[in-house]
Subunit: 216 residues, 4 copies
Amino acid sequence: MSSVRRIYERDSVEFGRALAFSDGLFAIAMTLLIVAITVPNIQDGDSVSDLASALNDRSADFVSFFISFAVIGRYWMAHHQSVSLLKAMDQRYLSLNLVYLAFIAFLPFPTALLGEYFENPLSIAIYATNVAAVSGMEVALFRHAYRSDLLERQPPPDVYRFGVLMAISPVIFFIVSIPFAFISTSLAVGIWFLGIPLGALSNRWKPDGADEVLLG
Amino acid sequence: MSSVRRIYERDSVEFGRALAFSDGLFAIAMTLLIVAITVPNIQDGDSVSDLASALNDRSADFVSFFISFAVIGRYWMAHHQSVSLLKAMDQRYLSLNLVYLAFIAFLPFPTALLGEYFENPLSIAIYATNVAAVSGMEVALFRHAYRSDLLERQPPPDVYRFGVLMAISPVIFFIVSIPFAFISTSLAVGIWFLGIPLGALSNRWKPDGADEVLLG
Amino acid sequence: MSSVRRIYERDSVEFGRALAFSDGLFAIAMTLLIVAITVPNIQDGDSVSDLASALNDRSADFVSFFISFAVIGRYWMAHHQSVSLLKAMDQRYLSLNLVYLAFIAFLPFPTALLGEYFENPLSIAIYATNVAAVSGMEVALFRHAYRSDLLERQPPPDVYRFGVLMAISPVIFFIVSIPFAFISTSLAVGIWFLGIPLGALSNRWKPDGADEVLLG
Amino acid sequence: MSSVRRIYERDSVEFGRALAFSDGLFAIAMTLLIVAITVPNIQDGDSVSDLASALNDRSADFVSFFISFAVIGRYWMAHHQSVSLLKAMDQRYLSLNLVYLAFIAFLPFPTALLGEYFENPLSIAIYATNVAAVSGMEVALFRHAYRSDLLERQPPPDVYRFGVLMAISPVIFFIVSIPFAFISTSLAVGIWFLGIPLGALSNRWKPDGADEVLLG
């Protein structure tokens, strides 16, 4: 729409706003699931066993809350880390960040669905799609920052390619798992966790100086 | 109430607070609709088709969430952009900003209404009114900033008039669409989208230097 | 508990945190009421009159939302203004601010109660008590800032007394109105609005230099 | 995962983000309980006694809201104080902070449970566990800051040990109280409050210079 490209430097009010907004959204998405958990109604208020069984009935809600908190918390850590590499943002970065945040804000729903219907392939598929979308947007944000010269220290091409590969690998694992979910939900979840040893393995092929540029 | 006018400079704590508050409100308004979407209750928890049809029943909720996120996200981008032109705020700007935010906070309701009753002219009319109010307040904020010398670079009169015209045009399109909604809701929505080619067209009449002042 | 008094200067991270926290809480309290408003269920989704009457049934909710937004928004403006006079905060100020915020966070409930049962003296009494508590805490915050030398420009005693009087007068009006609510709710609300001409009148007795110190 | 340790200095954007995120989460957790309190439905809207008795039925909700606000508010004060001693954060500090915040976000649920079933030993046990977890994480955060040289002024070993002991004592009191709750819930709550005179007493054994380092 405009031929002038706006750049918001790291210490500007505008750079800070984008983060305050993102952090507010993260905080809300992480606390949201607790609203859904209401205090149970039991006949004999003093009975330990009645209260225990009433709470047990909503154990899926408690598990969902803590898993959702851990998952979104891990994304917050990644977002925090990734933004720390930037020297500036531009409007396209802000737009991509909004799309990223839309998928973060949606995450509590598939998480709750998974908590309730863990054996259902559809829950697995929806959760895997949402998580793949978040990880995919992480890649898109990093790629845009690299191409538009927004990074504090521009990585050499091999380090950049390695960074993108590392970031894109969870997307692939999650998407690949979807058809397997319709055979067995446990198999699909197994594929998710396969990413961990592979990530450790990939460190062998890490180019020299990758840590310095990507982490610090 | 007072003869002394308080000015809050760009780097003051007070300027930052107004934005932290606005960004918090934007973040809440954008995540709010997800609360309303509860996990469905189905008999056979492992059945893909049962879960699919139960989720399909609330597809309007999902659509509302993402549309609402996109609409408010677009307003956040505009607010971010518009505040980036300011060198300071005064109390009147803060008050106008509060009125603007009230309409932003209300937006999820008409969006959900539209998602549920898209064929109903009243939904269209309420949504159009809310959106026109938000856009109208954008104009009021910009106009006040221009008249009270709050802009970093004061635009020449022809650029200012062009900026106001650009900002006011969606208000007009939305208000004009309301009576047409009672003939056909699709016609009304068509009028909303008419604004896009017209916006592109209007770039022809853009005064020299408008981009530099308004965007950068 | 400690003999060492911590002081957080205006530009410290800690001063900023107290405001980010306060602003987050304000933003949540102001958007909270919209959650309660759900999209109505009507038989004939295309009927304008059915939707209009369904929305009319929850008109009290809409009114509550906007009144609550306006009331809390006005308190945000006052908090913003009052903090702009500070050069520092101490831990006691933070504690008093938390008590103040507790009453702000509670406000949506009495507002909704008033919207639903305007004719009921008890609604009026609860609302008036809550508002008096908020205004009372404003006075406590200002008084503590004055006595503990936290203000940027220490006002002379007559200006300070005038400021306290101005701040305490709404408390008195709201408390006095409570017994009258049990005679007539409109009479009680009338007493609330009596504060406005009296505030204007009191400007006559304003000491010289009050504006400069209290507002600027 | 990486051999490079990232350090975020006090005045960096990244240090600020961690606090903005924490403060947002605190603010949401503190205002959350008010959402659960809905305006009662009464037949005769003008009857003071009907409204009074309807509100009385949800008095547990009001008590829960204010207790929860006070408890989480007290933790916010402690977090604010504890972070003010830091000169920097690292990624491990951020992770520990997330675990800490998960227990803060969960707190409204046990508080509401306690408000509803105060006589039930299980409510007491769940609340005591949650509170012990929060206090335990406070210790873990302080311990990590001490060991990883993140404190502005590194305390001498005796002051550090005293600080840990002071912070760990509520954890012990809360855990010890749990078995007693199954004998008498009032006895368990009594043990909680035993911590206060003991805290005052412990000031006698405070090493010289503890206040200067730990508070200021």
